[in-house]
Structure formats: structure tokens, C-alpha cells
Symmetry: D5
Subunit: 97 residues, 10 copies
């Protein structure tokens, strides 16, 4: 299992009506929580002032990570940047758990 | 206490001799471990192929974070980008501990 | 309480009709004034020639700042960049009040 | 009198010895305080993790602002970006004082 | 009175019909000429191959400059970058007139 | 004769001693004034806070403009961007003189 | 007569129907050939994988070049970058013909 | 025959309905497989989290490569960057097969 | 085992003497061939006109990849960008071997 | 034989003495002329105000092009960008000769 820094910006299309937007957001929230429960998302934060988040994801490899990201209901509206993460010498127990 | 995404790139000066470099690296490692022990650095990873790291830091505010970063022996050679992090709705127990 | 540099660019959607735009602008102005009154926005300036502003905002942390920014009626059309601000040694009484 | 957003990044030359650096920093601090006292620098903050600051400067025009910036001892090592600032409708008493 | 370098790129919306475009262009031309006559626009050039122009504008300050720019009929479709200009030592009579 | 927008940033080498710098600056100033007198430089402004200038230059073509720019004593330390300028419909007498 | 490097990217609007697109492309091809015949376009190449081209254009000055570019039927959908070209010492007969 | 690094980002238009999208994707997959069978695409990978791929393509020259890329059903929605590849000294049998 | 796109730019320091450069280059070549033999570098190409290469690397994870890259004698002078690669549906036998 | 757009920026090292610079420039000029004579450089222009040139080069493939570029005496100080060029439909006799 490896860790990845995943930075996601969301760009909702201009014409999306409020009901569709609200449904999409609640679907996104539910799927996000499943991924936290499965420990695929280890940590996630919101970037203040933006429809954007920063997360530490876990997956066996880039192929599995892609499958996880595509499963998000908002995937078609996401701009995603992935940085693979290597172990750092100063990191102790907590981070490598 | 707040969390910050801290992305650090290190640019050692061209003329630094190998002994000075090695001393600097071992000082940096020791200070890094102290910050992990004090839980100021909550997580840290290396970016593969680069003298760079990505970390999740904790500090009371930006003023304290600056003091922590300046305490790193390699600070004069660092290019640092800080992103303040807000709590995300899908984040569960582990991340908000 | 901390201070943040907040740079906001507004991109109104192409198809927005003039009445909706005017309503949105007056709602935005009213909410902006409330935030000034609550001292959440400490200072704000317009960037000449752009639908953009530069502000000094105050909030307990990034989570509260995000909540304040999302409360703006034009939030869906905003591109927001936040820089956390640390105290500077040369700053005197006025700025640290 | 007008206001300007002034963003300064400092790049000290690699070969500068510690004594010269310390002298330069204390000269810079003294000159910075003079400019605060003269109200040429209205506010100034440090950007965490960087040798950088963000300030709100006051000057009659761009020619006077340039003269003020050139008077800083670290000017030869600065990368400076200036944004002229216009009055914003939502700004109240405090900011327009 | 100060001078500003004003670089304007125009992005007409995709769906604008030819009659509306022509009307907008002739309104823009008329307003542009008024600003030249009032000496608010001191010089203006077209950038070859682009719907873009480069101008030297005059205004008391950034607030007045913003008001002048907003008065252009194409303002909603403009991307504007403003650079404040300071007097240069080598500049002679003509430029400082 | 054509006009060009010429944006020049100066990067003096780190090791240049103060006497050499002062000599270079006075040579540059003298050559700049000659170019103003010959009307090769029609207007020139300083960009506040930077060793940079913005100018409107006149030359028969790009080949002559290059020769004029290379004649500046600081040419080896300059980063120069040239934008060819076309006549704009709203421009009146003064600019096309 | 001068030469210019002209780099053109074409961005057709999303909603353009296939018949209109085909008509536009054949008009563009015809106008392009006229410009080659008039030797206004001296050389032109396609950039592989993109709706883009790179050309060496000839015109008396930037004003004439702008007129030539505006005459292209696809001009409203083009992003054009122009670089003025100066004679190079190593260039021989062929290029300066 | 030469090799090229081809980096493709796909931007489907906002209004494309799900049936049209699915048809386009299955056409794209079929054409991609033909190109793999013809050994025009030597290798191809997905970039995790993005509608994007990285491939090593083979063609006689840039003109043939352009023809191959234009044959993809999603070509109108692609942003393509091509890097020509030269033989590297350390490369052994496998890569030059 | 996973695959990574690794793009390497080399920036030799200005003062490196020709003998040291030649020794470094032959060490780099030898280490590169070992990595090809160990199938850590699956393919590698030179980018024409640059001290740069593009490679497809194989490693168990980002931590092993970092160790492989650091083992290159020119590592201190390299700027490295790593893109993790996921399996693509159209890819056939050859690429997934 | 194929054509490539080759854009070269030259960055001479700060400490190069005038004699060495002059020798390098005359070697570069001689080698450039040989490449023009061999028709490897088909056209070349100087970019006004910069130590930079734009050329149309001819080579069998990227490997040969790299060998030609490395043969330039100033290669160690060059930043080179290569764009492969495909035949354009509107191009006539002259360009495809």
C-alpha cells in the first residue's frame, strides 16, 4: 500500500440547477465518507475559499488510485493532481502506521 | 491548533563542500525529528526524485508556524509554500484527532 | 484571531441576465458591509480594471475563514487565493491592534 | 495619497557572510520602522516560511513609492510586485481613514 | 496626475450575435475616442493578431482609473492588467509634458 | 518607422562591485538620453520597486531595434520583451504624430 | 518588408455544427492559399496533434500584419502570438531573398 | 520510423449527453486498439485522476503522426502535446527493438 | 511493480571543469546501463537539444523509485518530475508484460 | 528529411571573460554558417532584444537533430525548445521544396 497527495479542484458547470447541485454534493459526501471508512482516504482537508480539497490517499498502485477517484460522483467536474509520496527519514511511528 | 500543508523544495548552493553538506543534512534530520516528537510535524513525506518534501504541520497560527520553519538548519536554502487547511465534512475521527 | 490576505477574482457566467446580475451585486455589497461591521473584513480594496478585490480578513482559523467566504452571494463565481499572514517585526501598534 | 499592495521576496546572494547578513538585516529593520513611523508603510506582515512580506504602502504616486522602496537596504536583493489599490464600496471608516 | 500602462485583452462571449457585436464595437470606439479627447488615454496601440490593446492612461489615482475603465462598453468582456508607472531619469521633455 | 513596446528587466550579477555598478549606471543613463534625443526611445517609465522599465521605442524594423537595444551598456544583464505595436482606430493626432 | 513568426492556435466554439465547421475550414483554406500566393505567408506548418500552425509571415509593419490576420475567416476563434524577427548574421542568401 | 512522447488531456464539452459520451468512449477505445495493433501506439498509460494519457507513439514523421492523432474520435476534445524523442546512449536492446 | 514517467533535466554547475564533467558523464552512463540491465529503467530517450531525458521507470513504489534516482551520479544536478502511471484499457500485451 | 522549429535562448555564465566570449561567438558564427551551407539550418532569425534565435532546421529525425544542436560551441549555455513540424495543406511549392 502506498500514499499519494491528491489535490482536487471542483469546477461545476455554469448551467447546473440548484437541485442537481445539491444532489451531487450529498452523493459526493456519502462516497467520500465510504472512502474514509475504507481508509482509502487517510486524511482530507478543505482549502479555504475554494471548492477544493487536499487529501492523503492510500492505494496499492496508480491503477487502483485511478479507480477510486473515478468512483467519486463529481469526477467529471474535477481537476485532479496526484503526487506519489515516498517515506521520509524523519517520519516516526504515527505517519508510517 | 491548526494544520497547514507545507511543501518544501531544497536548493543547496553550488559551492557547498561535501563535509558541510553532510553536517547540514544530519542537523536537519535531528531538528526534523524533534519537530515530529513535538507533534509540530504531524506527517512528512519525500517527493520522489527531488530534494523536496510534503508535510502536514501543526501550529497555533502563521506566526508560530514561521518560527518553526525558520528553526530548520536548511531554512536559508528552502523554497517553502504554505497552504492553510480547513476541516472537511467527510473527514472522520482519525484526521481530527 | 489571525489575519489572512484574501485575493478574489469574480467571473460572472456569460448568460447571467442584467437583473440577476444587479440583484447579485447588491446582495454582495450588503453581505460585504456586514463582514466589515463584524470586523471579519478588516480592509478591502478594488484592483483597478478588474472585477477583483484584495482584502485583509480576520478569522480564528482557516475553517472559520472558509465559512465566511462561502457566505458571500458571489462565492460560486469567485476564484479565491488565501495567504496566511504572520506578524512582522517592523510592524508597530496600528497593525497589531 | 494612495495605497499600494506591495509583495516583497528577498533573495540574499549565496556568498554573503553571516556578519554582513546580520548587519543588513538590522539596517533593514531600522529603515522599515522609520517607514512605519512615517506612515509610508501602513501595515506589513510576514509570509510564513519565506523571506517575504506583504505590505500596504502609502505614497503620493508611483514615483514616490519607487523612491521609498529603493531606500530599503535590501533593495538590491528584492523581487517586488506592486498592485495599485482603488477604493472599494464596502469599505467603511477604518480603511479609508 | 499619474500614468499607467494598461493592457487589455477582449474575450467576446461565444454566443454574441453579429449585430450585437457590431453595435458593441461602435460604442466602444466612440467611448475610446472620448477618452482620447479627454486625454485620459494618452496613447493606444493594437497588439497585432489579437483582440487586444496596449495603452498609456492618465488618472489622478487608481480609483479614478477604475472608473474610467468600467465606463468602456466592453468592460464585462475585458481582461485588464494595470502597471503603475514612475518617472524615469532618462526621460526628457516630451514624455513628461 | 514603427513603434514597439519594450519591457526591460535588469539583473545585475551578484559579484559586481559598487564602483563598476555606478559606472555602468551612469553609462546606461548617458546612452539612454542619446536614444531619447534621437527619438529612438519615444517614452520611458520606471516600474516601481523593480530594476525595470517600460518604453515605447521607434525603429524602422526589428533588425534596427535589436541594434539599438544591443547598444545599451547594460544589455548583457537585461531580460527584454518586445511587442510590435499596430495603429489603433481610436488613436488620434498625438499618438500618430 | 519584414518577417514575423506567427503562432496560431484555433479554438472552435463547442456548439458549432459540422456543416458550419466544414464551410469555415474550406473558407480558411482558400484565404490561406491566397496569402501564400501573395507571399504574405512565406512558410506555414501544422503543429502535430493540435489545431495549430506556425508560420513565417511578411508585412510592411505590425499594422499591415494585423489587417492580414483579421482577414482570416477563423480569426474570431484564434489565439495568435506574434514575434518580430530580425536578420541573423549566420543567415545566408536563401533566407534573406 | 521515429518515436514521440504524446501527452493527451481530454476535455469533454459540458453539454454532451451520457449516450453520446458512451458512444464516443467506445469508438475511442476501438480506434485506440487498432493503433496499438498497428504498432502506431507502442505504449500507453492513464494518468491517475485525470481524463488524460501518456503514450509512446511511432510514425515516419510529424505529418504521419498528425494524421494518426486526427483519426481519434475524441480529437476535437483533446489537448495534445508532442515531444520528439531521440535515441539515448544508455538505452539497450529492449527499447530500440 | 509499477511504472512511472520520469522526466529529467540536467543543470551542470557553471564552474565544473571539463575533466570533472567528463568523469561525471561516464559514471552516469555506467549507472544508467546498470539500471537498464536491472530493468529499473524500462525505456529512456533523449529530448533533442536539451540535457534532458524522458524515461519509463519501474519500481515497487515511490520510496524505491526515489532510492534508484538518488543513486545516479548526476542526481545533485537534476530537476526530476515523476508521474505515476496507471494501466490503460487500450494497452495490449506488449505494454503490460 | 523533416523540419523542426528550434527556439534557442543563450545564457552566458556571469564570469566568462570578454576574450573567451568573443572567441566563443566567432566559433558559434562559423559553425552556424556551416550548418546553413549544409542546409541543416534552413532559416534563422534573431529575436530582437534577446540573445535568442528562431530557426527552421532540417534533419532525418530527432536523433540527428540532437547531434546537430550539440555540435554548436554555445550548446552548454543554450536553452533549446524543439517543435516538430508537419506539412500544412495551404503550403505551396516554396515551402515544400
Amino acid at each position: 500500500v502506498q500514499e499519494f497527495l491528491v489535490q482536487i479542484d471542483i469546477r461545476l458547470p455554469a448551467g447546473l440547477d440548484p437541485t442537481a447541485t445539491a444532489a451531487l454534493q450529498s452523493d459526493e459526501l456519502r462516497r467520500g465518507r465510504e472512502l474514509v471508512d475504507q481508509r482509502a482516504i487517510r486524511h482530507i482537508w478543505r482549502v479555504p475559499g475554494r471548492r477544493a480539497n487536499v487529501g492523503i490517499w492510500r492505494a496499492d498502485d496508480a491503477t487502483e488510485l485511478h479507480r477510486l477517484l473515478v468512483s467519486l460522483p463529481m469526477f467529471p467536474y474535477m481537476d485532479v493532481r496526484v503526487t506519489p509520496l515516498a517515506i521520509h527519514d524523519v517520519d516516526g511511528e504515527e505517519a508510517s502506521e
